[in-house]
Symmetry: C3
Subunit: 319 residues, 3 copies
């Protein structure tokens, strides 16, 4: 098949432009939107609306889920280290919610788990609340509802803080920086073995998952990861699902860059165990042209309800 | 609600008293008892009785389990590096048992797995046996029955060896040292979605767990972890359940202190993947006042049979 | 019982013979065969035939599986760093297949996942294909079918690359080097609690495994790991099953040697979390004579369909 390279692919990037000034432009979020924001002095203002959505995991498989700004995962939030975020969450659901950014320590009233923390509010249906905190730490994080089963129904999204200039060596900036959020779903199907098309409401308890997605899509509907020969590519894996996912890229080895936003110098691997709540940043040199599988290593997770190829699989494609 | 600080909380600890001499007093075992012992020269004598018990996971949910000295987990055993332990196990069950301390290498006859090791005895109903070995290594360990399905019914407990003075820098002693043992239970319930109160016998095969405990209690019945501003707090996580538990503390970052009793200098994380059999020691600075969730990251594990909030969740509370 | 030491055990190995020249002779693959090969200049030629097989997990429990050269796992492939492999795969099944070596980056057409990579062929029933690539990296790898559910039915095997002389310090060569591949199986049984003997076809979806094997055998049918006092023993754990396995050796501590073929200096543990797709190399000093359990730490995994002792358990025996 002909490969359709998306218009957003930054063809013209060269080593010369590889500076920290444009790291934000290098972030790639296949199948996601990037959250719009308004800048006001040193503050980035974002707005997320939590609401019921319909979402296509596959072109013929729709879930009745919960989403932020109409999608699951919600849009990618990009911050710069040293900035403040004003993050407004609007609740258009019929039950209370709150939002927690996992990692990135913040004052107690901004933490967003009212079931545990009395100082942080619950957001009633129809209401909004604005979380305000300093992004003092760079790294890979994620936001999600404080209600466990709103998360398993889709209320989650990626949250990235890029390092400030004092913490960045220009030579460490990746050419491209891919954000990949892993989810699993227990979708009612008559039996295992193939995809039964239609629209379904996932089981929020999620104990027997049968669909596995990267940025909300299952293979073959996952958008590829495009690279060019010679580029250093970063990939950031985010997982809060109830399974660990062993992510593996064929034809390349990973240099571990960071875990939970903390540097991990000196480790190489070809498969990484991305357990619930833990975020891995890895890099690889695009030195082996071709079309390569990127996938979870568990066999059933490579299927759509038992139909292969499918599941938590994408492709790295050299252009 | 008003916070009830337990009388055992060591309010008066200050940096000046932060020496290795009183580390044992700094150990906190919420919801557990600390095993009593008798000292005889360089030997600590302990006595554990294995017997059927009734145990409350929640105030309204009782399990017919197996316990040591009347509880699951059994009492915390505290040793000092360089001491010998004489650990008597009395079997008041109607089937044979034996006791293995996981980690902390010991001579073959003291290992306590008679199903595999001919030199170590099985303890018949009504009989006792005393294991004797040197605690040469400091760190976090646990004891459990040699019978797999006695473990999943409750025969497990924490076992700590504090370092001797030659291996301790006084400045590395934590202010408080919390011991947290993770378990999961498959308790018969009519359906998922809420707690059905009563008394139940857990399914020993434990393949579809629906209750998740820290030191034998599920949220909201987990006793909090009390800290004061400025303290360096150690937490030790112990897991032998058939799931890995991704433990996460809001508002703070972990410095990894040790895994399996072996030092791990140089690693920070905010979420740790505590897999079966592996013990993590982490520390955090209590520098962010409030009431904070400490929990496993898997969504279903944050519930009691699907009712939230619940499950493997506790609170870190600044007093 | 009397211990039967296999004839293949290299009794006469001494420190003096501990050189890189005979590392290949030191590799031990209990319950596996070692793949025969033909040498042609710097090339090792191997031949694997994929076909339906019957395989005994226990002496009284047979599975109708898929195997390479008549067994699951398939035979151990041993390569030396810097050599080329010509690996012929013959398909005697009634469906297409292909073979992927996990890790060990190779050119795109040799990668063996035709469902994703157009440049690598599918092997039709009755046909063969020869993969050719340079083993530039030493370490522990594995080969498996590109079809997820052919893997869960048995099409997997270990693949080792020994370091060349430039990358080997003679003093780092282990006395013995044990290869241990972990699998799990969902075998139809009337109920949990004991082994129901007979011949069964495993469920390829493998979501509720009830049998757990090391090199294709469940305890008590796992062949022991023989060691002598004073030896440094390497063990290599390979897992592609859908569970992580927490491997633990009683009476000894592990020094982590490598993960995914990459050196990991400076880490000790007594239990390692071998997640799907990840290979751990560990070493221990045989300094504590006896008969010791080596097992996964999850309780149900220590059983055969709920009958204990069983499962993913072997014994380290001093001879």
């Amino acid at each position: 098949m002909a490969i359709q390279v998306p218009l957003s692919y930054p063809y013209s990037m060269t080593m010369q432009s590889n500076t920290i000034n444009n790291w934000e432009d290098r972030i790639m979020a296949p199948d996601l939107t990037i959250a719009e924001y308004r800048v006001d002095n040193n503050i980035r203002h974002f707005h997320l609306t939590a609401a019921p959505i319909k979402h296509n995991i596959l072109s013929n498989l729709t879930i009745e889920a919960l989403g932020y700004n109409g999608s699951t995962p919600g849009p990618l939030i990009i911050m710069k280290q040293g900035q403040w975020i004003y993050l407004t969450v609007e609740n258009q659901m019929d039950e209370p919610t709150a939002l927690h950014v996992h990692g990135l320590a913040k004052p107690n009233p901004e933490d967003g788990v009212p079931e545990i923390t009395p100082s942080t509010p619950s957001i009633a249906p129809g209401e909004s609340y604005t979380y305000k905190f300093l992004c003092w730490q760079s790294g890979t994080f994620f936001y999600h509802s404080s209600q466990a089963f709103q998360v398993s129904q889709g209320l989650i999204g990626p949250f990235i803080v890029l390092p400030d200039s004092q913490h960045t060596n220009p030579y460490t900036v990746p050419y491209l920086d891919y954000i990949l959020l892993l989810q699993q779903w227990e979708i009612p199907q008559p039996e295992l073995g193939k995809v039964f098309p239609g629209t379904y409401k996932p089981n929020k308890f999620d104990r027997n998952p049968n669909y596995f997605t990267i940025n909300g899509k299952a293979f073959p509907d996952t958008s590829p990861i495009y690279v060019r020969y010679g580029q250093k590519i970063r990939m950031r894996f985010i997982n809060k699902s109830s399974s660990a996912h062993s992510m593996h890229l064929h034809g390349h080895d990973f240099r571990i860059t960071a875990i939970d936003g903390f540097s991990r110098p000196g480790f190489m691997s070809d498969t990484i165990n991305v357990a619930a709540g833990i975020r891995w940043e890895v890099e690889f040199w695009a030195n082996n042209p071709g079309i390569w599988p990127l996938n979870g290593s568990k066999t059933f997770h490579q299927s759509n309800n038992g139909e292969t190829p499918g599941g938590m699989t994408s492709r790295v494609i050299y252009v």
